[in-house]
Symmetry: D2
């Protein structure tokens, strides 16, 4: 059984900040958003977690192993180096969507995302050390079969992108509805999902669904461990096994 | 009539690099991708262009005003500071999708995205100075009506994200099919589209379509100018007019 | 008595890399060096250490509390995101210069800094957890009295810089010769020194020496703790006490 | 005859900001300073200029070819992405120190570096396009003979650093006093100087002086061109000629 610790990272008052006193240069906003995400990726990743860019002003992280003090340090570091601050909500649940739901509520209870007086909130619950186990985090890493051969080297880059977006949108909705899982596009033709305990059959069903619904062929590797990093690295290796053996689903624990 | 100069930026041999000799840490790949995008945003933005992260290993830029030498400088700078290199294909067309198509072909003709020997290609055509005009680039900036009130402060962050993704996926397909336009999610609840000349009615149709198809309410500001930056900044200001006046479509030239 | 764990971070084969196949653009080298330093500052700082940019291709860090695995992670992260790799030598000693000396030897024994085949060395000894104590790291933070009033707002920026450089050069030599301490300019008019246990009189002597030798007036705050971060933060606060009370030497433990 | 356009870049109100409301984490200040410098290196370098980190809160740039609007863009971009802002003073003179002097005065006249109300000043004069020529910027690139063999692979890293610092301090003072030149340590064992027109004999004298005064052996390559980038790249190539031919002074124009 999984026990996913999820942190919602939300930039405080960002919408108003981007247009005050006047709309700011788009390329600077893009640079700021991307670098903030990159820094959070390092800060969280340095402690074995994963962060997903999601909407950039709202980012979702899997933070098993990262306690309240470490969250506070991350928040302080951002406040020292950026013209914006972040609020953090943390929660733990077997179902990832439920953990994210409670993490979101902690922030909503403290105030609106665009409330100038709501700043640097740090609320929630972390998974105590003694309750942690080897199957807490379940990560699946999907990619599109032969994306380079079928799409990148054949179609123009936007039509390739449309195909991959359709595949992602279908997968994200299906995994959320069927399994309470959270799925994130991470670049290229890759999607990483944070799941409760799923079986080989569950993964085959997901892949079949996306193929039938939008005609995009996926394969997947999955892993489970104490931390997002370890589970995710297992999943990457399983995906390599899929490539070598021509299979569609490989699980680290079978 | 528009004359859009589009550059496709593609990381050379990225897929294989990410798993050689073994799969690399996901957080490091995310950091690298995001920072490369941020740097390109600055390099291109410094000369009034826009870059969209798209798939991160393939990025789309609007580069009116940026000539071959300036493209070469950007390519060299990346090669000096990253463990990867980029290939650039450039093309100009009234229809943005056609420009991107030719830009993609320049790269495809040179070799596969995963061909180790294809490195740092720089091919294509730029818009000559004497042919440039004040209506070359047409940019539209969409956002979701009252996203914070309706979604961010009410739903958990992933269900908010799903709504925004659905709105984006619908809009991107519609704009590509109906108008040969390229649309990009840029964070928050914002989508920026690179279009040929469109009318007020065209924008109302797009907004109506997305509302009927997936129930997401959009508003839009549009601008047109010699460069992506100027057109985009006009579009941002028009979006502010929408906010102040409660309208759904505002155009800088009317 | 202090117990300073020092890590020498050396970029592998950097000299040759900067001129192969041809000299690389200086601004790109500066960008790479500075960002690598900034990343190491975060990676080491996230675990309560300090890094000093020193020569940029050779950087000195105080790493009490950072074990071998954490060093390996830092090394791996750099290798994943930069076009260069780093070698790390680690040693512990009461005298900071001795720790740095042994850390340097570990790398020298493995091969030259410009030996293409010497890559990503990780050698040395770390301070075992059970041997750590509250006085392990002794940090002193010096700054120039009224630098803004006397220099920045009066002289041209280079002559101000020359004064501060002279003050730094004198202080660094004196502290190394008299106390085996390592002193680093950290920007503005600030110098941070990593020392063995020093007394109030030792600090007054250092300040007097620099005043007599080059006519630069310094004040200093000092702290001592288990980690560089804690000792350094104490030192910063003591420097604030100097400012408020008009004193020249303030120690956190008296 | 040279015509050096120098820009002084000064962070507004930085001293107070670093300790308000309390002293900020040193590693975050180091990260901020280094990344700001790296970004300025790219922004200025993208237009063929050079930036030197100098004191980090005060940085010196050679900006021939960069006009007022481009300076304003750089200033705006920093203000959009950092928690601090910068003021810029620009001046042109045959003697680099005189240019920097006037650039410094523009800022001093507007207010103290620690005056909260002095923000984002942009004052000065740029070199008009019609007055620019091929010998405007004269750059010399010094390095220490066989630093790796003599120092890096033999001594501990700090004693190597002390040698290089001594060489730099001596060179910077001599070049300023004898020639009104500005010299900057740029990492490794390299110093870049911005000079008026100097001769082969002038360079031999400088090298002899540093050898006699502190026993550090330098060699130098020099170039001159319309921009800092071109002059600097010539200088780098001449330094390679020194390495290949075993000479101490090589000039691009002889």
């Amino acid at each position: 059984m999984t026990s996913t610790q999820v942190t919602l990272i939300q930039i405080d008052n960002y919408g108003p900040w981007t247009v005050t006193p006047e709309p700011r240069r788009e390329v600077d906003l893009q640079t700021l958003q991307s670098r903030l995400y990159a820094d959070l990726s390092q800060l969280v990743g340095n402690r074995e977690g994963y962060v997903f860019f999601t909407r950039f002003d709202n980012m979702v992280a899997v933070t098993n192993g990262i306690d309240g003090d470490a969250h506070a340090l991350i928040q302080e570091s951002v406040g020292n180096r950026y013209p914006v601050t972040v609020s953090l909500g943390i929660a733990v649940d077997e179902r990832p969507i439920a953990a994210l739901g409670r993490a979101s509520e902690y922030l909503q209870e403290a105030g609106s995302a665009q409330d100038k007086s709501r700043q640097e909130i740090l609320e929630g619950e972390t998974l105590p050390e003694r309750e942690r186990g080897e199957e807490d985090v379940h990560i699946a890493h999907f990619d599109v079969n032969d994306a380079t051969g079928k799409y990148t080297d054949q179609l123009n880059a936007f039509d390739t992108f449309i195909h991959i977006e359709q595949g992602y949108a279908e997968l994200m909705r299906y995994m959320r509805t069927a399994h309470d899982a959270l799925s994130f596009f991470v670049g290229g033709d890759n999607v990483i999902a944070v799941c409760p305990s799923l079986s080989r059959a569950d993964y085959h069903d997901a892949i079949d669904h996306v193929d039938e619904a939008v005609g995009v062929d996926l394969k997947v590797g999955a892993g489970r461990a104490r931390t997002a990093h370890d589970a995710g690295m297992q999943a990457k290796h399983e995906l390599e096994v899929c490539r070598e053996e021509g299979t569609l689903v490989e699980l680290a624990w079978e």
